[in-house]
Structure formats: structure tokens, C-alpha cells
Amino acid sequence: MAATSDRTRFRVVRPLHPFHAFLLAGMVPLFFGGLLCDWAYRSSQHIQWSNFASWLITGAMVLCGIALVCSIFGLFRGGRPGLLHFLLLLATFVLGFINALVHGQDAWAIFPEALVLSLIVTALAIVATWQGFSGYRAGGVS
């Protein structure tokens, strides 16, 4: 009986699903790469960096969008990482989308919004991922 009870409790406190983990871990370097490319364009005035930034952010947004959907399922399952994780991902997605639109402007028109937004979105993505992975510890114990 005791063993069964333990197993039940273990299931309720779910660790992050590997697919969700993959999405979170993937979007961070993409957003961060976008930020670095924005910075490179700002300092070199070489347009190719801006193209790179656009694609990196688009890639990050695909992962972020799927992760957001995962986090909505997570809300209904009642496990970790929960509401805060969803809200962090939502903020990342909304600002990331605006950032993608900003990057759709031509040449230098993306500044200064692009650099500021890339910085904020990268920070949000890191926090969301960190917070998401923190769920492992809670799941493994007890």
C-alpha cells in the first residue's frame, strides 16, 4: 500500500515533459542569438546581421508558441510548472511577436525598438525557462 501511495504522489508532481523542456531550451539561444545579431547590425551597419536576427527570432517564436500551448495543457493538469510559467511564456510570446513585426521593417527603421525588445524578450525567455526547469526538483523529491 505504501509503495502505491508513493507512486501516486510521484505522478501528481510531474516533472517537465521532455518535449516541453526541449522547446524551452531551444528558444533561449535563438532569442539570445537574435539579440546579438541586432547588436552586431547596430554596431557594424551591415544589413546581413538584421536578416539573421529576423530568422533567429522567427525560429524562437515557433518554439515559444508550441511551449506556450504545452504550458496551457500544464495548467489543466494542475502540475508544475503552473500558472506563473504560463504567464511568463505568454509575455515572452506577445513581446516576441511585436519584436518580429518590428524586425519586418526595412533597414535601420528597426532601431531602437528592435534592440530594446530583443533584450527584454531574451530576458523573459531565460526566466521562463529557468522557472520551468525548476519544477524538476519539486517533482523528484517527496
Binding site: 551597419q45 551591415h46 544589413i47 546581413q48 538584421s50 536578416n51 529576423s54 530568422w55 522567427t58 506577445v94 513581446l95 511577436f97 511585436i98 518580429a100 513585426l101 518590428v102 524586425h103 519586418g104 521593417q105 526595412d106 533597414a107 535601420w108 527603421a109 531602437p112 525598438e113 530594446v116 525588445l117
Partner: protein
Amino acid sequence: MNRVHVFAAATATVLLASCGGTPPAPEYGANPTLPEPSRGLLPSMVIASPGEWGDRRPVVPDGYRITAIATDLKIPRQTLVLPNGDILVAEGRGGSAAKLKPKDIIAGPIKAAGNTSVKGGNRLSLLRDADGDGTYELQSVFAENLNAPYGLALVGNALYVANQDALVRFDYREGQTQASGAPVKVADLPSDINHHWTKSMTASPDGRFLYVGIGSNSNITERGMTAEVDRAVVWQIDPATGMHKAYATGLRNPTALAILPGTDQLWAAVNERDELGPNLVPDYLTSVREGGFYGWPYSYWGQNVDPRVMPQDPEKVASAIKPDYALGSHVAALGLDFSVAAMGGAFANGAFVGEHGSWNRAEPVGYKVVFVPFRNGRPAGDPIDFVSGFNVDGTTYGRPVGVTVDPRGALIVADDLSNTIWRVTPETPVTPAAPTSPPEPAATDGASPEAAPAGEGASTPPVP
């Protein structure tokens, strides 16, 4: 500041802040009103929604009639009226610009919805009205296997065609309905990327030089300045040697060139940059000064610096010439020709401009042919609608491109959406105009093709 405003709007997640509903400002003429640049997170876009002409016709002024003289063409762009009255039509679609950003992949199909789905012909068609009754009963393929031909010019017996990648020459004999052989290459034209691929062309009055308009490779340097070598310029080419020089620079997309009759002065219709708001930047009509710089990309309408261009060039900005005459922002002027007395009183002295119509504007503009009156060799007065009714209640029936004045008293308009050639004539011939050159033997009456019976139907329905 506008940037601050945009950023504030962005963070407030007002996603679709657009500039829609802005009333049209008086932005014609020599001193257009230039508002501050503005752009929402998305550019304002209203794409033409194509419809069939059916029994509908473009609208022309009282005293004029319009007929479709050729239909079912393969994207007609520019036309040339030959000395015997035959009309050559350049058909095709060019451009090979790679998609650079996610934006290009999304915007491409959206903009394509406003154009014809027909495959470009890459050919020249010849239209002939042998008996001068206003019906062009003969339609033949003059030359095939060209590469997106656009600019056309006849100098003596040499017919020059500006393909999107090269200037070529055919030997032309009056009365020919088909070229006698393959064209000879005169000169290569800049064709890498070819974002703006159309190569407009006209010849100097003495026939010694050809002028070729070469558009920029981007809206506003988003492909980098290395892509803009030999772009946004008008070349002067010596057809005897193929040598060229940059005649004028900084003209973003000089889509039509013409010489003002009675002068040596070259004029150009130029398409200006997008995504600075609904009332920026005016497309324009200007005389082209040899050695002149007209602003692109660093500035527009003289010294208005475009902040999207980096690095900037203050010396170039200082030297930028203000164009002569604003046609309105986003109208997409693609055709230009000067009128003749035979076109009739109010439209005898001035320039016809074909306006393909806007995409980057909540309230569509263009989609018509306007007449810009001239006095003493300069534009004088507001543009007057000459052919309109292409875009009615959200449906687009046609989009004008090239306009050519037939010296016998007719305006030829190429429509690249309905793939039609329109011909506008005064209902009563203005003057018994003598032909500028003898008609070819086959033409029984090349002198007065417009003298059709008044009771005859004013138009032939184009077959959809």
C-alpha cells in the same frame, strides 16, 4: 517623437496600429505637403481584388471614347507606336529577387493576389489596324523568347528592346509583322537580384543615345548598399558601341522615360519609397538633369533625410535635386508620354501618366491615367483624370502601366491586370493631322484611324 509613440503603442500591445483612414492631403505639384514619416507595426496594406470587366469600361472624359484593341495578352507593360501606325506591345514579368526575411515570404503572396495570374509572355506582339477604322484586326507575335522586355525605342531602322538583363536590337523594316531574325545584344544591363526589374527606355531626339531607367534593388537599402551598384540610375547608352554612363542617379525606380517634344529634355516618372506612411513619399514626374542626383536612398524630395538608411551621406543629401512635380504617394506611376495637338483641346499640351495603383495605403490611390498639363515646357496645374474606373468599390478591373501617344490622335494604355490594350481617341478628330511619316503600303488610310462612324459602339468588349 514618432519612434517613442510607436514603441509605446507596441508595449501596450496595440498590435495593428495602422495609419488607416488618413484623409488624402494635397500632395500634387511642385510643392507637395510632406507629413512626418509614420508607420504602424504593420504597413498599411490594401491589395487589389481583381474582377472581370464584363460590360464595364474605363471612364474617359466627355468627347472621348475608349476601346479594347487587344485582349488576352500575356502581361502587357509598355507599347510603341511605329511610324506606320502599328503598335508593338512588350509583354512579360521579370525579377528574381530572393526572399531575405520572413516578411518577404509572407508579403509576396499577399501582393501577388493583386496582379494577374497569367504567365508573362516574354515577347513582343504587334497590333495593326490596316484600314484605319479603329479596330486592330491583326495581332501577331513580332518576337519571342525575350527576357521580360519592357522599354521600347525605334531609331531609324533599329528597334531597341530593353530586356530585364540586356539591351537588344532588331532590324526593323516598315510593315513587318514579325522580326526577321534573332535580336543582337547591344549592352548588358544590371540584372543581379532585379528587385525592380523593369528597364524603361527612350531615345534622344537625334537618335544618338538611348536612355535606360534602372530601378533600385530594394525599397530602402534593406539588401545593403553593395546590391545598389548601378541601380536607381538612368544610363545613357551609345547604341553604336554599347558604352554607357550614368546620366542621372538617386532615382529610386525610373519606370518611364520620355523626351519632351520640341526639346532635348529627358523626363522621367519615378516611383518613390514605401513604408513611411500613407502620404509619403510622393511618386514624381521630373525633368532629368545630366549628372543630377535625386536623393535615393539618403533623402527624399530634396533634403528630407530618410532615417532608415545607415550609414548616411550628408554630402549626397545636400546635393539632392528636388523633383519637378509630385504625382501623389504610392500611385505607382509606370507610364509616361507627352501629348500632341491631335489629342484635343484640354489634353493637347502635357503629359499622360499611367498609375498602376497602390498597395501600401489604406485608401487606394492611383489605378488611373492622369494628364498633367504643361505650359512653356513645365508642368502647370493639378493632374486631371484621363482614364479612370479601374478600381471601383473595392474591385479592381485593370491596372494601367505604359501609356503611349499615337501622333494621329490616340492614347494607347497597357493594362497588365486584365491583359488588355486600351485605346482612347477624341470622338471627333481634332485636326486633319497629317501623318508624321508615310503610311505603309498595306494601310489604306493610316491618316485618320479615329474617323470611325459616330454611331458605332464605343467599345469592343474584352473577352475575359
